[in-house]
Subunit: 332 residues, 2 copies
């Protein structure tokens, strides 16, 4: 049975929503959860009937969101450190963390380690598109100041994720740029474009809008750009929602309209909702590491666990190592 | 009376929507329009009562969207070349172009010329925010591979626009980054951040979402990032709209709901609609240059003209030159 380590204390709202998410997942799937945190705090949230499927691991400290990621290596009693080490030591196959994302990334990279040939792990995230599907975007924040060979590797890792986890046979890989023509892009992007031409699945430059219209399956970018695009997209969606809410309040007729459209809004929300996938995989490390939002709901944690299960039972690791092995000469 | 040159032929849909926009603007405002293009084609679209306020200028060629911007200098008979030269020669005070944006930018920079101390002109664009206001973002595509001093200048020019055109006394200037903390950003952004601290209106890093929640008035970025963010934002808005439309079609109740919410959607659309401002000013050149979308509607062209009028009658040029003059030592 797959064993998943969960940092139960690192999120913004304490252990309650995280444990609730774990229990929801246990109701639907077979796995064993290792919850890391303060046993006295976590204990009361575990219903008796789930005690067999949950192991509590004591951690005395929490790594706070305001701390610098570089300090995490010194804090061996934090829940995130101990959760990572459960994977490092082979007790668990995957980790889900809603704690400090920089710390999770550093620990996963340094203590679990990178896959063979990987220069830099990247955070990948799924974004909704109007075809009711998902587009994978990477990197969304692990790496700034990338070189072209890093972007090339993100392409290879994104392709592996699309094939192994999203079950897309021939994913379309694009590189984000300021125009579709090959000649468009900053220097790094143009030189990464040349390297990416070695991937048969590479379809060239894509514009920001193509993430959301379903014309690519994987969009490659530097973590600086990816992070700005990710947050800008969330910002647009929430600005539109707020404007609608503000206007609706002014009119009784519109309030009735909203009531009639309830099922529509619910379906659209389900399509664009972060909770539906629940976490961003860190691609390029030896074991499955899912980084969830600090404000994750139980549903988000549940879906992050499902993602971890799918990931752990896939051949994505071999896929990444083999593919990168083929292109060793391109990676400086 | 302000004289405005309009490239009437360069847009994707020919001269008709452009001339309609000009006429709509003439109905609401005092100015004289110089329409540049094929007189035989434009002529039939001009109603007799507007003939006094419109001068037709013959241009035999159109600079096609598919051509490389660098070729435009050689094509002196194109409508965009002749329209720019009306400004260069002092006949008109401003130009509005829905033609090839790269060509417009090159011609404005090379034939009209940069303001004193400006290293690189930048395309600024207004984006909607949930406070029902507008956020200015620059650069959105004129410059890739910027240096920190370019980003600093974009800050100064954005500040001048916010003060002179948007009438914001103390605009809040932010620089787009992958986190709010000063330590976040790629190398160029971090070093631009240091330079921008010399502006009293600078409030530090801003995240992608802050463009849309109204917490900054001006967001600074490299043209590569800006272009991707601009298009991604348009992509999100249109994906959400498409998802709603798709779901509504499936239910009669929801169709009734949409009808009741018509006025809400109309107001929200007005808030986020490109047509409401109609064009992006090229900041840093000696005369007002407004770059409109190739697919501009008459309303977009009308609003682009209003923007040009406001711009031409403002003190933005002195503002930019004076401010940049103060910081000469920072600009390498």
């Amino acid at each position: 049975m797959t064993k998943i380590a969960i940092d139960a204390m690192g999120g913004d709202f304490g252990c309650e929503p995280i444990i609730q998410g774990v229990i929801q997942a246990l109701k639907e799937c077979e796995f064993h959860a290792y919850l890391v945190g303060d046993e006295k705090i976590m204990g009361p949230f575990i219903p008796t009937e789930f005690k067999e499927k949950i192991t509590l691991i004591q951690a005395d400290e929490i790594f706070e969101m305001k701390e610098g990621a570089t300090d995490v290596l010194k804090k061996k009693d934090t829940s995130i450190f101990k959760a990572i080490d459960l994977v490092r030591d082979g007790i668990c196959e995957a980790i889900v963390s809603a704690g400090h994302s920089g710390a999770t990334m550093s620990l996963a990279t340094l203590r679990i380690g990178r896959l063979k040939n990987v220069l830099r792990p990247a955070i990948a995230t799924l974004m909704p598109n109007s075809k009711s599907g998902r587009t994978l975007v990477l990197d969304v924040g692990a790496n700034v100041d990338c070189k072209s060979e890093h972007l090339f590797q993100f392409g290879v890792m994104g392709e592996a994720y699309a094939k192994s986890i999203m079950s897309i046979k021939s994913p379309r890989i694009g590189i984000l740029s300021n125009g579709e023509e090959d000649s468009k892009g900053d220097e790094i992007t143009k030189s990464a474009h040349k390297l990416l031409k070695n991937l048969p699945t590479f379809i060239g430059n894509c514009e920001g809008s193509e993430i959301f219209d379903g014309s690519v399956d994987v969009a490659i970018c530097d973590g600086f750009v990816g992070n700005i695009v990710l947050k800008a997209s969330e910002g647009v969606a929430s600005a539109v929602t707020n404007l609608i809410k503000k206007e609706v309040k002014k009119s009784i007729v519109a309030i009735l309209g909203v009531t009639l459209m309830k099922s529509v809004f619910k379906k659209v929300k389900k399509n664009i909702d972060y909770d539906e996938y629940g976490g961003a995989p860190l691609l390029g490390v030896k074991k499955c590491t899912i980084i969830s939002h600090g404000k994750s709901s139980p549903k988000a944690i549940k879906n992050a666990i499902f993602q971890a299960l799918k990931f752990s039972n896939s051949n994505i690791y071999e896929n990444i190592e083999n593919e990168l092995g083929k292109f060793k000469n391109l990676q400086g």
